[in-house]
Symmetry: C2
Subunit: 226 residues, 2 copies
DNA sequence: CTGGGGTATTTTGTTGACAATAAATGGCTC
DNA sequence: GAGCCATTTATTGTCAACAAAATACCCCAG
């Protein structure tokens, strides 16, 4: 159960965190209709802060609200998920370019270190699941913040990634291609280390495009039913 | 004064609309610290719905909140404003591409019609101010929705445009180049009408890049002090 | 006169009760 | 028996009072 991560600054923040992780992990399934009182007892909250959190979640597109009719978790169709990747492609392309221009040498070294640890995890075979789920997220997270573009990072980290992760938890998006994905990551970091913004953008766009095509293929094969 | 636009479905929606327009129009200045009780009396609201609205506004990045210390309107620096245009460049580039692929012939005709009316306004000289402020917004709005990419439209219309408009109200972003901007708009629509996604994306990116450079120049000249 | 500490005040955060609206159920008519 | 309308019920929206926290002010010491 998604308890409050440490102590949040305020009850509303706590509610927000709880609900967000609950939605992302699938504890609250897409399309599920949820009552306010039920949520209150479930997360030990009162309705005031809860409603504030619900507003924030709605504003971020994680749930939809119909006046007087309750709130339900947003359910993203397969087509919409693919559209999300189209957005990621251009936004993360920009992030990679700006990261190449602005990341400190230290940050780049750390980035390379995380890739090393990812590689070890993959070699240990069973690490695959973790790698795609969290390692991949970690990589993209670092580049988003490395762009030094506050709004870009906010939109990626606070908006898009949550929606993507929501589905990554139940379907292994890049399953079967962890080595390939890692190699793509390496090339991107290489370009960033060489301060080659053009190349970093190009490689990142291609990387995300590949992930999108991978999902598309799986959907066609019927492996993924969203 | 920014009264409730018609009757919103709920008090919180009303509060949200009021505050959003108040921020965008500059009625609430950037950096201004605002107390909850003051806002309540100002917009005839009670604190419950207000707080819900504040949460939504914060989530959208229009205001910042420090626990127990109040809320103040976000103030975007010149550098951050330029970063916003970098994001617009890639996102609206994508929007233009997808619009070229997906807009109906009817929508394209309407788009051309709006450009005609914009042209008339410019010819009537005094229309300049309106054109840049609302006509330009109208154009970009139509393309965002025309992309048929729900999340992309949501991010552009619900997030970025409000921040940009916030500054467009006090500084004339594309002042001095209305004819040029219109010509660029025409070319973009032309590419969309020809279903040339590549070209539409390219032209849109160049258009927004030009707008960014224009602002950059003004800032260097000291005309704009943000 | 200036700096630090403590109290007072203001403002935010939270709570539980109340009102209004939509969904659900049951009864009535056709 | 089926469909529609009214009533009931449950749930959401709203409110005003209470508690907690941070800022501001004032007093005192150096």
């Amino acid at each position: 159960m998604a308890e409050a991560t440490l102590q949040s600054q305020t009850r509303a923040d706590e509610a927000f965190d709880c609900l967000q992780t609950a939605i992302v992990t699938g504890e609250l399934a897409p399309g599920e209709k949820i009552g306010e009182v039920e949520l209150c007892s479930r997360f030990n909250l009162t309705r005031g802060p809860l409603r504030e959190a619900l507003g924030r979640l709605e504003s971020r597109g994680l749930l939809v609200r119909r006046p007087h009719a309750g709130v339900k978790v947003v359910s993203v169709s397969a087509a919409e998920l693919l559209e999300l990747y189209r957005i990621r492609e251009v936004m993360e392309g920009l992030a990679a370019r700006q990261a190449a221009e602005r990341m400190t040498d230290e940050e780049i070294a750390e980035l390379q270190a995380t890739l090393d640890s990812h590689e070890k995890m993959i070699e240990q075979a069973q690490g695959q699941a973790y790698y795609q789920a969290e390692g991949d997220y970690d990589f993209h997270h670092r580049i988003a913040t490395g762009s030094r573009n506050a709004k870009l990072a906010q939109m990626l980290l606070g908006d898009l990634y949550y929606m993507v992760r929501m589905y990554r938890y139940r379907l292994s998006t890049s399953a079967g291609r962890p080595h390939l994905a890692l190699r793509e990551h390496r090339r991107i970091v290489e370009a960033i280390a060489q301060r080659d913004g053009d190349l970093a953008e190009f490689l990142m766009k291609r990387h995300i495009n590949a992930a999108r095509i991978n999902i598309e293929k799986k959907i066609e094969e019927g492996v993924l039913t969203i």
